[in-house]
């Protein structure tokens, strides 16, 4: 199964890190990706620039509107993502637990849904 691991943390807290701390965290993240790739769990992923660079797009009445910033103000902000291949949720949780920023913020694990031509259900496959 494919799982998306969304990495969140408080940007303000991370900004207070020293250059050395930040470098060492980033090296850890690169190591984590290397390990996941070596074990066949890593499909794709990327860290993101801070929310100050975000733009939110909506289409209403066929008109595109754009606004500054992320969709919602939250205590922790989306910082990156990993698309993982895992046997089941327990394996996905075990993998997500090794993502270094999980020590500072949180990692949300969500199964990916397969997009079908028809028969999709907004609430998942629940009958």
């Amino acid at each position: 199964m494919k799982y998306l691991a969304l990495v969140y943390y408080d940007e303000k807290v991370m900004e207070r890190m020293s250059q050395q701390e930040w470098d060492s965290l980033n090296r850890e993240c690169m190591e984590c990706v290397a390990n996941l790739s070596a074990n066949g769990h890593f499909i794709t992923g990327s860290p993101l620039l801070p929310t100050s660079t975000a733009t939110t797009v909506r289409v209403r009445d066929n008109r595109v509107t754009t606004t500054d910033g992320p969709f919602a103000e939250t205590k922790e902000q989306l910082a990156g993502f990993y698309m993982l291949e895992a046997r089941d949720l327990n394996e996905a949780i075990a993998l997500a637990g090794k993502i270094p920023p999980a020590r500072y913020g949180s990692v949300e694990v969500r199964p990916a849904r397969e997009l079908q031509e028809e028969g999709n259900q907004a609430g998942g496959n629940a009958g």
Binding site: L89, N90, A92, G124, A126
Partner: protein
């Protein structure tokens, strides 16, 4: 074999259906399909067994009959939706290669408990799902026990089952790496089920009593299947708490506190079993907070009276508990034990320090405990204020009556 009557089958169903269901869930990978298969299998038994006799291994017969029925069902659906065809074929191919072993069936019950209590499921849904799937209570019964509407509870169960399937929560007992955390969820769920039955605050008294019994049954099952020290500690705790059931509530339904309880009403058999389990759990050196709480309950159970209780030991156990799980409520209980070990003044000093920290200022039992100690020290005015504060904070009928009674008693001082 006894004659297969409807009554015999009903009893057989009550004893066996949850075991069979647990295995069907593993084999079919779907809670709803398994429930349907379970009912079909028992329906088949009802028509076949009275004439053909009970098969040699009735459990295995029910499992394999249920699975055949489910495959039929999937095949019927496959006529409209080709994706079911693969599922049916896969299930059929497994059918011929796999024998249904007794041990597997027992393991499946354990898998079912861990699946229902997976930490990725909301705690209130864990409880509902466990009572529904593992204990076989109806949705209506569970809703009435938790004072929720049936549709809300049904919705909760449907969502939890959908999450198990869609998010890929595995049907397994977790490995050594994940076991401690997962076991903690299972123990916590059982503990909460018991508490729901133990605090006779409102709702249908009888069913809540059933919930306490059900929690003990679950804890016992867990100990049989996975004899971990903390599981034994939890079972001990529940047995020891429950041993006081008959002495805790007066005929008028009022709460009777430990010091006024008629200890002759305590269930000695449960106490013996509980103490045996505590000793084993503590001896393992891999015990946790449930075992320590059970040890405290065991010291109370062994004491002939409040005064003759081994208070130094209880304070020591609270110290150990605080080291593991620091919490203001545990500190409060320790303060009360200190008041018994040393004197009321010492206890009051600790409670006042706690209240000054603001941790428990809205917790009615902190004020009630302060009030009791002030009363013992003859500080009547302070006691009155504290009882009144406690009364303002509690919502429970029996506790309100108890506090009002205490307040009235103060006037005679």
């Amino acid at each position: 074999m006894p004659p297969v009557t409807r009554a015999w089958l009903n009893e057989f169903y009550a004893n066996e259906s949850r075991r069979v269901l647990a295995t069907l869930i593993r084999l079919l990978g779907d809670f709803d399909l398994a429930e349907e298969a379970l009912h079909e299998a028992f329906t088949a038994a009802l028509t076949q067994w009275p004439t053909d006799g009970v098969p040699e291994n009735p459990r295995a017969w029910l499992v394999s009959t249920g699975r055949f029925k489910a495959i039929d069902q999937i095949r019927r659906k496959a006529r409209f939706n080709v994706s079911y065809e693969d599922i049916a074929e896969q299930l059929e191919s497994e059918l011929t290669t796999e024998e249904i072993e007794e041990q597997e069936i027992e393991d499946d019950r354990l898998r079912l408990i861990f699946t229902c209590c997976h930490p990725a499921i909301a705690p209130e849904a864990q409880l509902a799902l466990t009572l529904r799937e593992v204990c076989g209570l109806t949705t209506e019964e569970i809703a009435s026990a938790f004072l929720t509407s049936t549709p809300t509870l049904a919705q909760r169960i449907v969502r939890a089952k959908a999450k198990i399937r869609d998010a890929g929560i595995p049907y397994e007992v977790p490995g050594p790496e994940q076991l401690p955390e997962r076991l903690q969820s299972v123990l916590h769920a059982i503990y909460l089920i018991f508490n729901e039955g133990y605090s006779a605050s409102s709702g249908d008294r009888l069913l809540r009593h059933d919930l306490a019994t059900e929690a003990i049954r679950l804890a016992r099952l867990l100990c049989q299947l996975l004899p971990e020290p903390e599981a034994e500690g939890l079972l001990a705790l529940l047995l020891l708490q429950d041993s006081r059931r008959a002495a805790r509530i007066s005929t008028e339904g009022d709460l009777i506190l430990l010091e006024q309880q008629d200890r002759a009403l305590w269930d000695q058999q449960q106490i013996r079993e509980g103490i045996g389990l505590v000793l084993r759990a503590l001896g393992s050196r891999r015990f946790g907070s449930y075992s320590l709480q059970a040890a405290i309950a065991a010291v109370h159970a062994e004491a002939p009276s409040m005064e003759a209780t081994d208070w130094p030991q209880i304070v020591g156990l609270y110290d150990a508990l605080l080291e593991r799980n620091p919490s203001p409520v545990v500190e409060l209980n320790r303060a009360v034990a200190v008041a018994m070990r040393d004197d009321a003044e010492q206890g009051l000093y600790l409670i006042d320090a706690l209240l000054a920290r603001g941790a428990l200022s809205d917790y009615h039992l902190a004020h009630a405990a302060r009030a009791d100690l002030c009363r013992r020290l003859g500080r009547v005015d302070e006691a009155r204020v504290a009882y009144q504060r406690a009364l303002e904070l509690t919502q429970q009928g029996p506790e309100q009556r108890y506090l009002t009674h205490r307040l009235a008693e103060l006037d005679t001082y």
